[in-house]
Symmetry: C2
Subunit: 352 residues, 2 copies
Amino acid sequence: MKSFKFKAWLSALLVSTVFAAGTTAAWSDDAIQVPVKSIPVASTASVGLQNSIKAGPLSFWNDHPQSAQEWKAWVQHLAELTEKGLPALRAKMGVSVQASQMAGVQVFTVTPDSIAPENQRRVLLHVHGGGYVIGPGASGNAEAIMMASKGHIKVISVDYRMPPDAPYPAALDDVVAVYKELIQSTDPQRLAVFGTSTGGGLTLALALRAKAEGLPMPAALGAGTPWADMDKTGDSYFINENIDNVLVSYEGWLGDAAKLYANGRDLKDPMLSPVYGDVRGFPPTILASGTRDLFLSNTVRMHQKLREAGGVADLIVFEGLSHAQYLSSPDAYETQQYFSELNYFFNKYLAK
Amino acid sequence: MKSFKFKAWLSALLVSTVFAAGTTAAWSDDAIQVPVKSIPVASTASVGLQNSIKAGPLSFWNDHPQSAQEWKAWVQHLAELTEKGLPALRAKMGVSVQASQMAGVQVFTVTPDSIAPENQRRVLLHVHGGGYVIGPGASGNAEAIMMASKGHIKVISVDYRMPPDAPYPAALDDVVAVYKELIQSTDPQRLAVFGTSTGGGLTLALALRAKAEGLPMPAALGAGTPWADMDKTGDSYFINENIDNVLVSYEGWLGDAAKLYANGRDLKDPMLSPVYGDVRGFPPTILASGTRDLFLSNTVRMHQKLREAGGVADLIVFEGLSHAQYLSSPDAYETQQYFSELNYFFNKYLAK
């Protein structure tokens, strides 16, 4: 029985010179060298997202704008592309959107055709994603529109300032300012804050700031695949590199955006990377990610941290999905599931 | 601004001939070709598990016993290695273990030095893991010992029959038989069933059988990284191939064991692969996995299925851990966390 042998793991090192040609990984004390592999299309994800899953990496993932002017042109171009789809999305979702200001910050109030009886006095505060650079103006509204519609609840989305003009702490200051004004008129027990990616990171940072400033906490948080560690720290930054077709790699625009927002500040500062914060006293939080998500580790590390601190924290991981892909198609099963989970969770923890 | 271009994803296909040398994945309608990559040691996992994480693949992952006799020798050798560590584990954990029979099936009753007041009338039924082939006799006891000790609760572990002598449905029949006898003396509302890997799969299959036979459900289930799909279906079978250092690949002994247990039966039969079962009416279930786990998709698909069916289902994903690695060191942070989560969950849902 030739296979019946208990090789020392050191023997695996001996194959390191041939790993590129074969199917065996090479292990050392520092890293695993993983050979070339083929990942089939995730047939276990829903039919409604198969096109997004098959669609190869987002065309702009490896763009590297070199100046403030280039960043602005890049962001503006993406915003225009996104805004083209918004009238159809608003119509499909049956919402109206009003721009206004709160505490001097631009916000969008998203009102669905019908507000559920239990949500009459509730409000959700939405923080959009986009790596602290993408999603200015109405182009950051899509998640707020879908939530308002599917949850039958009023949503206020913050159009926070962003770099290159306004690096840290401008974005967080704006979210905090809107939150402070909002809790003058809305009982925080009837309020949840939510967002995806950078929106999830800012949601968590807002709660850290609320603690630091002695503000009342909102009743619940939704942190969809939050940018909880802005440094390239965490397993999935590596495992899902070149597999996640939305972010693809920290080495694309993403890592540049981190530095642009941090503006010299330590990326591990808890206000940038909330996974390093003290999360005791946080309200119930729901988190979501996907098996191909570059931010899977950001999500599960944050989840673990919240539970370790004695908090209520629910985790959902979507099979076969890349970063924030649950937002990519309003009719897809996972999109329905995401908003249905948020809705259920907020309904459970918000006062009526 | 040369990087400011929105390439069609088709252009990615053009690099497919050079991907092995570079850092870009090649995408097609069927699969992603992921280039060679380096995964650093998971510094984000606990210090207590760093040795397990660095230790390279388990030496026997790619063994392929060729006959019933070879399987038995292979299993026996692993059992002997494991059993050597048991006296020290029992002593450290402060438990006593008694072998006996229930409904004609061999079981081990694990009794901790002290039983918590709320657990006086509660019992946990444990189903060990090992791919339906590994873990006969006392060698399947480790998880039951740790749970009894850390939860201060009595645990009964089922030493179910296994192939090559006894393929499907012997293992499940044995677990069901013990469950039936146990609920004669213990209120099922004071009873949870739990296990890891194959133990998680059998736990879920037991609940399917209980439904099919009209038996009362236990009050809760613990399905640690359950073998919910015995076919090679699911994202993490591919993404974490050669990254998970416990199972490593379905192409090792694991896939052989699946066929040995199924014995010609369709691997997608819900009694083999409970992710295809009708899980409405399942009791609250807690599931656990890791970011490197070959069974991450088994776990999250099962979790999604349970929530979709309206059940209570909690998910924990351990950062940096391979399959069932949370069991590998009783003092490690993640091990404490795993049993503490199970304990909290069972305490919440079991009657006193």
